[in-house]
C-alpha cells in the first residue's frame, strides 16, 4: 500500500494524518499535539503519533506535505502547501458538496470559495489582526476564568446575550470586565462574545460568494457555541464533522498521495534530531 502524510502545523495545535492507497483511499491514522514553542518537534511528534495510530512505520511513508503557519519548519516534509489549498481540499473530501469553507483557527480565520473538484476559486483572510479568531475566544475564556472547552456549551445557555461592540482581542477584556461588574451572567457575556465573532467572520466571508454547502473547518469548529452563532448569523446550517479540525492535514495528505504519483520514495523520514524522537 502506498502511504502518504499531511502535517498541519497550526499556531496552537499540530495535526497529522496518514492516508493509504491501494486502489481506494483510506484514512489510516491521525494525531493531534500541542504546537508549543518547538514547532519542528511538534511536527515530528504529530507525525510519529499518527503513524503509530495507523500502525505503520514512519519509514514506509512515501510523501509528506506540510501545511499551516509552521510548514517551513517541517524538516522531513517533501513539499509545503498553504493551508488555504489544504483546507479546501480537506473540506471537499469530508463533504463533497462543499462550495464554501469557513476556517477558524488559533490566529487566523478565512473563507474559501471552492469549485466542484475541491479547487480554490477565491479566498479572503483576516488581516494583521486577531479579531474573529481562536485567540479572541481564548482571551474571553481567560478573563472569565473558564476553560476553552467550557465556553462554547455555556454560551448556548445565554438568554440575554450582551452586546460586544469591539472586535479587538485586547479591548474585549475590558468589555467583559465591565459587564461582569454590572452583574451580567457569564453565559450572556459569552453569548455576546460568540455572536460578535460570528458577525465579524461572516462579514469577511461575504467577500467571497457564500454558496451552499458551507463547511466549517479549523480548531474553533469544535466549539459548539461558535458553530451555532455562525449558523444564526448566516441563517443556514453548517457542515461540521468530527474531523473538521483535521481538514487541513487531510487536504495535505491528499495532495501528498497525488504528488507521490507512482514513484514510491522510501526513507523520507529524516528527523532533524533523532534523539528526541525515540
Amino acid at each position: 500500500m502506498r502511504l502518504a502524510a499531511g502535517v498541519d502545523v497550526g499556531s496552537t495545535q499540530t495535526k497529522a494524518v496518514i492516508v493509504g492507497d491501494n486502489g481506494g483511499l483510506q484514512m489510516l491514522g491521525r494525531a493531534l499535539v500541542d504546537t508549543g514553542a518547538n514547532v519542528q518537534r511538534a511536527a515530528e511528534n504529530g507525525f510519529i503519533a499518527a503513524c503509530q495510530q495507523a500502525g505503520v512505520s514512519p519509514q514506509d511513508v512515501g510523501y509528506v506535505v506540510g501545511t499551516g503557519y509552521g510548514r517551513y519548519k517541517i524538516t522531513f516534509g517533501n513539499t509545503q502547501m498553504t493551508e488555504i489549498s489544504c483546507h479546501a481540499r480537506g473540506a471537499h473530501y469530508l463533504f463533497p458538496a462543499t462550495r464554501t469553507v469557513i476556517d477558524m483557527g488559533g490566529q487566523d480565520s478565512k473563507a474559501i470559495s471552492v469549485g466542484a473538484e475541491g479547487e480554490v476559486l477565491d479566498f479572503v483572510m483576516n488581516d494583521k489582526c486577531a479579531a474573529g479568531t481562536g485567540r479572541f475566544l481564548a482571551n474571553a475564556a481567560e478573563v472569565l476564568g473558564l476553560g476553552l472547552d467550557e465556553i462554547g456549551p455555556l454560551s448556548l445557555e445565554a438568554r440575554h446575550p450582551v452586546k460586544i461592540t469591539t472586535v479587538c482581542t485586547v479591548f474585549v477584556e475590558s468589555d467583559i470586565l465591565s459587564y461582569l461588574a454590572q452583574g451580567k451572567k457569564p453565559e450572556d457575556i459569552l453569548g455576546g462574545v460568540h455572536l460578535a465573532i460570528a458577525r465579524r467572520t461572516i462579514s469577511l466571508a461575504r467577500r467571497v460568494p457564500i454558496e451552499q454547502a458551507i463547511t466549517m473547518t479549523g480548531g474553533v469548529s469544535r466549539n459548539i457555541g461558535m458553530v451555532r452563532a455562525l449558523e444564526q448569523v448566516l441563517g443556514t446550517k453548517l457542515e461540521v464533522g468530527p474531523d473538521a479540525h483535521f481538514a487541513g492535514a487531510i487536504g495535505a495528505a491528499l495532495f501528498a498521495i497525488e504528488k507521490m504519483g507512482e514513484s514510491f520514495e522510501s526513507g523520507i523520514w529524516r528527523p532533524a534530531d533523532a534523539a528526541h524522537t525515540s
Partner: protein, 449 residues
Amino acid sequence: MSEAPRSEYRGQIHQQQKDLMLHWYERLDESARTGNPPAVSLMISGNCIELLEGFGAVPLYPEVNALQLAIRHQSLDPILAAEELGYAADNCAYVKADIGAMIKGITPAGTPLPTPALVLCNFVGCNTYVKWFEHAAEFQGAPLAMLDVPFLRTAEPRAEDIDYVVRQLHEIVRQLEQITGRRFDMDRFREAVRCSARVEEAWSRIKNLARRTPSPFDAYFDAITLMGPLYVYRGSPEGVAFFELALKEMEEKVARGEGIYDQEKFRVVIEGPPPYPFFRSFRDMFATWKATAVASTYSTVGGLWEFGFRHDPDHPFESLALHMLAHNVTNRNYLQRYEQIRRYVEEWDADGIVIHFVKSCRLFSAGQGDMRDYFTRQLGVPTLYIESDLEDPRYFSEAQIKNRMDAFFEALEHSRSIGTLRRGAAALRHPAAGAGNAPVAGERLKILP
C-alpha cells in the same frame, strides 16, 4: 518550494539605465553646487518633462528620491522624523520620507540635492500632491507654482479643460523665464516633444511585446526599472537612443523565444505600486511560481501610451495638456482603470490579476475592494488582493503576503491541472446581468483609445 529563479532582464540597457540615472544625479549635484542647470521639482504623474527641456532645466522628482530611499532600506528614519514633526500615521509615506529626508539632510546619492528654482506642482489626480509640494516649497525656501489639472470626469477631456491647462503652461513658462533669467527655447521644446513621441513609440512597442508568450520582460518589475529613464530622459536624444536600443533588445529576445524564466508558467496583470522596501522579496514571490507580469497599471502613472497616445510636435502645448489630462492612469477615473485592466487581461493573455493595496496611496487604493469584486464576480477572473505599503516598511508582513501569493498560485496550478483555468479572452466571463453591484466599465463612459 524551490528557490526563486533569477528573473530580471540583463542586457546592454541594464548598464545604460544605471549610467543614465547616475548621470541624472550628477546633473542634480552640479545644479546644487553651481545653480546651473536650474532644477525644477515635478511630480511623476502625467509629468511635463518636455517643458523643462525648453529651459535646459533638470527635473527633481521627490517620488523617485523617496522610492530610492525605500529600495535602499533607508525610508524608515525619515518617515519617523516626519512623524515626530506631526505628520499623521495615515499620511502618504512618500511625503513623510521626502520631508523627513529634507529635514535630516538624507539624499539617495549621498550628495546634497539642489534647491529647486521652482517647485512645480503638476497636480494630476492625487490631491496629496498639493500639500506635499506646499510643504516642500516651504522647507526648501523655494517658490511654488500650481499647475491645476482637472480630473478626467468625462471620457474625453473637454476643450475648456485643454485650454485651461495650456494657459497655465504658458504662465509657467513666463514664471520660469523670470526666475531663471533664461529665455524659453521654443525650438528646443518642440524638439523635446518630438523626442518624447519617439520614446513613447518605442516604449509602447516594448509593452506590446509582452503580449507574446513567453513575454520577453516583466511589465511590472522590469518596467519599473525602465521608468527612471522614461521620466527623466523622455524628451531628450539620450532617451530616444536608450528606448530604441531597449526595443531592439526585446525584439531580439522575442525572436529567440526567450522569456524571463526557462518556462513561463503564469501570466498576471498587476495593479498598484510595489512595496519598494521589499522590492526584491516581492519579486521573488512571483518568480518562485515563474509568474510574469505581462501588464501593469503602475507603469502607466507617468503616461499611458500602449493604447496609442503620443505627444505631438505640431501641437506641443496642447499635447502636453492632453497627456496630463487624459493619458496617465492617475488622472483617469475608476471605470477607465477597470477597462484598462480588462483589456490587459484579454489582449495580453493573462491568467489572473494581483491587486496590491498600498496604505499610503488613497489615489491608487481607494475602491480596490470593489475592483476585486468586479473582476472576480462579474468577469470571473482569478484576482488576488494583498495589502502593504510602497514606502513604509512597517506595513509589510512578508509571511502573510507570501502565504496569500502561494495560495493564489497554488489555486491557479490546481485549476490548470483539472482543466478549468482559462487565459486571456477565454478567462473573461461575460458580465451576468444584475450580478454584484460593481459598475460595468465602459457602459456609462466611452473609454479613451
